[in-house]
Symmetry: C2
Subunit: 520 residues, 2 copies
């Protein structure tokens, strides 16, 4: 079989059965092979960042990679921002990037670029295929590299002639890795830290923030009094229902540093030492107090949940005595203006059990978070901070979990970067509800302008932050991509629209026109 | 003054007075400084590829760089595809990329990335600022590097603390370079080639494709019989009116190779040896015949028009005897279905004198080109082939040339990658008319599927090429961004809408729903 078919069949052998694509001439053989390899699902994105972000969302929900199919160096370039986010999420992703045929590469054709150089900053593994007959082996190697653990972005660059040449049979699948418990030494060092009499905190990230890890951490906390914190930039946090709540580190460094003040040791569970999102004049970047010591209970590729379970047993925590009653859902607002809090309460009240929430709400995030403590859902936060993550991640999560309601929480600024996602949601009839928090500004920048010491926002600076003149009309934009849409300007209108979206399947966008305090 | 103000003032001293921006926290000082440096025009883009593509378009029309202001590595990543196009266009562009503050860079914050690595593949010059007091000097060095000649993408990476720290006075401007005539040796070698009795062609690119170069080439051709060809991927081609026409190399290699068959020497004027856009099974990538020799009359950074003028005099060409009557404008179609040819004839008939045409029409390009031979306009073609160029280039050209009508010719596939450009056109009230050639497919891929030997398009492959289910509604998309829009489904409707757009200023989009031959 030719290289393209060999690659698709090898991916399938590796349980990679979704390919998010924006193909061009050099990838035609892969597109054609879809008809001979029907188990591979091809999903078209109208912009490459949609494909890469969707692969991230898919990986966060399944733990396994989707493939992307991208057109040469410049196609990969358009995918990079969301691959940066996937890298920070430790999501396994397999990029297949078409390249000019080998004889053509020597010429400086218009689309010729240094594809490997584009790939390297975001990829844990990069390989340019050397010959057609290496296709199967290389595809399995890419999947193995992507799976880690921890998950990585693996990029396989395939010259077009290797796709159309004879490549032999598909390769054997790569072994499926599993996360191992940390070494006894590591486990005992953390147990020692918790028994040290010092003020110790646990910082959880990665797989430790899913249900098993959170349950073990809660038992540990009950037994030892250790405070448990969540990395706010983890790929996924299980929340609500019977899942124990976890305190998330605040966004701004002052608040985070205040929360961690007095801690003498932090035990890291698949987490790195906590750091501020941005640096500011006169502020420390590290969120832990000066002199705080760090113990690594589990590194990023290890089994943090298992390690927490071991630690709980070691320290004499009692087995979980059945479900602790969680917090109650908030009451729906009524007759109120549509504030950020009203949106949060509505989401918290109406989010169906088992929903997935892709959250890229930027300036509103801190106010909405507490209202979602009761609703049992999977939260997919910002990881790498490259804007344009939320819609594609929601798209990928919906592809991963048919039957689950997916909600994407966006700002009118952040939703703009990869809005082409809406079209793929419409085409694939995905069950995604998009809430656009419309404040008509890059509102976070109003705050950051002061914090970075840049002063007040003058008339000309304001034009770079203001999103009016003209106001984007999200109803028309959504409908332009084939997604049903409605606008809500009061809490009651939002309740009606969001409630309807929760009851019915299919993509839908709600523009929540926020009632904002005067004078910003 | 602080670093941000020093940088803006140094750019102004270098005649760089336009900054296309999508700023974030690390660039707040630059945004704030706009109020203290009012001669610097800030223009907001809602996606970074809009900014970089607009800088390319601006440079093609003015010969000087605009600045972009981008947010960290991931913001730069979103700009890369159009920076690839700018690089291939040899457009001078100055990227200012904000970076984390130096003390923050040591931490692995979410947005931390290898910004230099993102910059290198597209940049002829990259520098990470070493200290605040080097700001002025570095900004002038960036402009000097961008100007070349030939023009380059220059990327200056500025840690946030150098923006907010004292940086001293703005630097002296860099010397303005000019293109030099090639060496006497080069000139004489080309003269020798033209006198050699061999079958010789001239291939023009770069500045040689503007009026002076084309006039000199015409005189040379009249005197010696040499055939003159245009690089189809040049940044800008002057066309119509009194400007001599020039034969463009065809897109597909078979046609281009047939055109160049029999040529024994090609004299390159700011051009490289011609090469096929893609490689295909069994086809040569070089468009010149095997054994064809190349002479370089002028390299990319040299004065090709001046060299042609020298050559014309040297070979005894008579001075131009006044304007030769150019071709006539095509007749308007009437009562016809809206074919690609009907669109071409309408454009050719109604394009106002002095218009600018940004052309990213892909599969329709070859059919439209001949109809535009009479209308005096500046044509801005695809250069690097990274899709998403056309709308931003039109935006930048409109910023460069207020008072000129700008037309962007797009396909419904290609317009999708950087459609956020529409919002900036609306905000800045730019005189851009966008024609969307809606064939509801990545139509070029139907052709390429056969050409790459991938065979026919089966049902599942078709889904990756088809843009229906749902059909994007370009009227709603345009209106969603604040741009007036209309649909045309017959030639008469298109004439009415395009005519109205030519008579009135301001942004406007026309969706031309093409009547396509059955069975594709």
């Amino acid at each position: 079989m030719n290289g393209a078919e060999c690659l698709l069949r090898t991916l399938l052998a590796n349980e990679v059965d979704l390919c998010l694509m924006n193909p061009g001439t050099s990838e035609m053989q892969f597109v054609s092979a879809l008809d001979r390899v029907p188990r591979m699902r091809g999903v078209l994105g109208l912009f490459e960042g949609v494909c890469s972000g969707a692969a991230d969302g898919y990986a966060r929900m399944t733990g396994k990679p989707a493939a992307t199919l991208l057109h040469l160096g410049p196609g990969l370039a358009n995918a990079l921002a969301n691959l940066h986010n996937a890298r920070k999420a430790r999501s396994p992703v397999v990029n297949i990037v078409g390249e000019h045929s080998t004889q053509h590469l020597g010429y400086d054709a218009p689309l010729t670029a240094d594809t490997e150089a584009f790939a390297r900053p975001v990829s844990g593994w990069v390989r340019s295929l050397e010959r057609a007959t290496a296709m199967g082996e290389a595809a399995s190697a890419a999947v193995a590299a992507a799976l880690g653990p921890p998950g990585k972005v693996a990029t396989l660059i395939v010259p077009a002639d290797f796709s159309w040449s004879e490549a032999g049979e598909p390769a054997c699948p790569a072994p499926r890795p599993s996360r191992h418990l940390p070494s006894n030494e590591q486990l005992r060092a953390s147990a020692f830290a918790l028994r040290s009499g010092k003020v110790v905190g646990l910082l959880l990230s990665g797989s430790a923030l899913q249900t098993c890890g959170l349950l073990a951490a809660e038992r540990l906390s009950a037994a030892t009094g250790v405070r448990v914190f969540a990395d706010r930039y983890a790929a996924r946090i299980s929340r609500g229902g019977d899942v124990p709540g976890v305190e998330r580190l605040p966004y701004f460094p002052e608040a985070a540093q205040a929360l961690l003040a007095g801690f003498e040791r932090l035990v890291l569970v698949e987490a790195r030492p906590p750091v501020s999102f941005f640096g500011y004049p006169g502020l420390r970047s590290s969120l832990a107090p000066a002199g705080c010591a760090f113990d690594v209970l589990a590194s990023e590729g290890e089994d943090g949940a298992g390690a927490l379970e071991w630690l709980a047993q070691e320290l004499g925590a009692r087995p979980s005595g059945g479900a602790t009653p969680g917090p109650l859902r908030p009451a729906l607002p009524s007759g109120e203006p549509l504030t950020v809090a009203a949106v949060g309460r509505t989401l918290g009240a109406l989010l169906p059990e088992g929903a997935i929430l892709s959250d890229e709400s930027v300036s509103s995030n801190e106010q909405i978070w507490p209202h979602l403590a009761a609703a049992r859902h999977e939260n997919l936060p910002v990881t790498g901070g490259a804007i344009g993550q939320g819609l594609p991640v929601a798209l990928g999560a919906a592809l991963a979990c048919p039957g689950c309601k997916v909600v994407a929480l966006e700002a009118d600024g952040s939703a703009m970067y990869t809005l082409q996602s809406l079209w793929t949601m419409a085409r694939e009839r995905l069950d995604v509800t998009i809430v656009i928090l419309a404040n008509r500004r890059y509102r976070i920048l109003d705050i950051e302008m002061r914090r970075t010491g840049a002063g007040t926002v003058g008339r000309r600076a304001d034009k770079m932050i203001d999103l009016t003149h003209p106001e984007p009309d999200w109803i028309k934009l959504a409908e332009g991509f084939g997604v049903q849409a409605a606008r809500a300007a009061t809490a009651d209108e939002f309740i009606r629209e969001f409630g309807a979206a929760m009851r019915e399947a299919g993509p839908r966008l709600i523009e929540a026109v926020l009632d904002l305090p005067k004078g910003r």
